[in-house]
């Protein structure tokens, strides 16, 4: 009986705080995406021929985000019934955008205006004994091109 009550409490806490954290994170992502828009990130390998001399430097951005109790419960149920696990979609979307933003922020610090050959890696870490996900790690990396004054 008590663990049933604990379960409901965890579920409610997970829902309330998870939703709040997600809203806050999305707001911050959108703001920073606006700020960093002028840094162009593409996954083409060849630098532009625009007559500007550029030096290449590796930049990375990574983030580990965990899903809340409520969403993990939803995902567990969903895996019985099949279909799209909507509760993990926002997790992955947030993680990727955050990783790209961190990579771009690093590029801006170096004075770069472009990131080329950008790649994204996703891995799920902190799996527990039964092989279920606790959180997801996304790594974004690429070559920042820093204009060099002649």
């Amino acid at each position: 009986m008590y663990d049933l009550i604990a379960f409901v409490i965890f579920l409610t806490l997970g829902y309330v705080f998870g939703q709040l954290a997600e809203k806050k994170h999305y707001k911050s992502i959108r703001e920073r995406e606006g700020e960093l828009r002028k840094i162009i990130a593409v996954n083409s390998r060849f630098p532009p021929h625009d007559g500007v001399q550029r030096a290449g430097l590796l930049v990375t951005g990574s983030v580990v985000i965990s899903v809340d109790y409520f969403k993990r419960f939803l995902a567990g149920l969903r895996s019985l019934l099949g279909g799209r696990i909507t509760s993990y979609e926002t997790l992955l979307d947030r993680a990727r955008r955050e990783a790209i933003l961190r990579m771009k922020a690093e590029a801006r610090q170096l004075g770069a205006d472009m990131v080329f050959n950008m790649k994204l890696e996703t891995s799920s870490i902190s799996k527990n004994a039964r092989g279920k996900i606790g959180s997801v790690e996304v790594l974004a990396y690429g070559t920042a091109l820093v204009p060099v004054k002649p």
């Binding site: 419960f73 567990g76 909507t86 279920k132």
Partner: protein, 274 residues
């Protein structure tokens, strides 16, 4: 070739719009419905199969019990004699053997296992003041044998735990808990129904042998103070007060006399038990 600042990408392309609570309600109903349907299917098919297992096969599964409990004392024989007296009234088929064993232990319990072996603990026996109450207890356990509850329980336990562990391999920890809980609550409901059916048959048999049902309730009155305070839907037996009320109502309905002489437990048995 130009490199342009990326225009704003609208939100919601890589995420879905369903509200999490709506999704939650949908998944919970479907998930629990699925588990419930699955458990019911398993329960009914196991019951169907169990009724078709011959008693002889059940007995041979636990043949070691006969050797293990071959030493018998006066209490064993006394209990056995009551069981033998009740047997014709229970409607048990001839091939169903009943073996009653007395366990010298303070536990307040009695149980029935495969092959018609009934175990009565001293802890419970010393609370029962008359032969009538002991008969009610034995009749209740014999009703389990008649309804094939031990083998049904075994089958259900094995199959359901196999199926649920398969499901749990797929689900996350949290949902696995919910699933196993739904499954076990369903099983408990069946267990309570089984207890009630056994109570009913037992009372009928006691009435047939002793021509009154006085003393039968003693069994439950003694269980009452042992109550564990758990909510009924979480326990394997019905609420004791409800059991007494149900039996009183049944006796009234059938016009069974509730007054009558109680038979005292013989002195040599009392000395051994009390």
């Amino acid at each position: 070739m130009k490199y342009r600042q990326q225009p704003d990408i609208p939100e919601g392309i890589n995420t879905s719009h369903t509200h999490p609570l709506k999704e939650f309600a949908f998944l919970l109903t479907m998930g629990l419905g699925l588990v419930l349907a699955l458990s019911l299917l398993i329960v009914f098919s196991i019951d169907w199969l169990a009724e078709r297992v011959p008693y002889s096969l059940e007995q041979s599964m636990v043949s070691t019990l006969d050797q293990k409990f071959s030493e018998r004392n006066a209490v064993d024989d006394y209990l056995q004699s009551i069981a033998d007296k009740l047997k014709p009234a229970m409607g048990l088929p001839d091939e169903a053997q009943i073996r009653v064993h007395y366990v010298d232990d303070e536990t307040v319990n009695a149980m029935t296992t495969l092959g018609g072996h009934i175990f009565v603990y001293r802890g419970l026996l010393k609370k029962l003041q008359s032969e009538n109450a002991i008969a009610m207890l034995l009749a209740h356990e014999m009703a389990h044998v008649k309804f094939r509850h031990p083998i049904k329980g075994l089958g259900k336990g094995v199959v359901l735990s196999a199926v649920f562990s398969l499901i749990m391999g797929q689900a996350s920890d949290v949902s696995a808990q919910v699933i196993s809980r739904t499954g076990s609550l369903t099983l408990l409901k069946f267990s309570r129904d089984q207890e009630q059916a056994s109570d009913e048959l037992a009372l009928k048999a006691v009435q047939q042998i002793y021509h009154h049902v006085n003393g039968a309730e003693d069994l439950f009155k003694n269980l009452q103070d042992k109550g564990n305070g758990r909510a009924e839907f979480l326990s394997s037996h019905p609420d004791t007060l409800k059991r007494i009320a149900y039996l009183q109502q049944l006796a009234k309905q059938q016009g069974w006399p509730v007054e009558g002489d109680r038979i005292r437990v013989p002195e040599n048995i009392r000395r051994l038990v009390f």
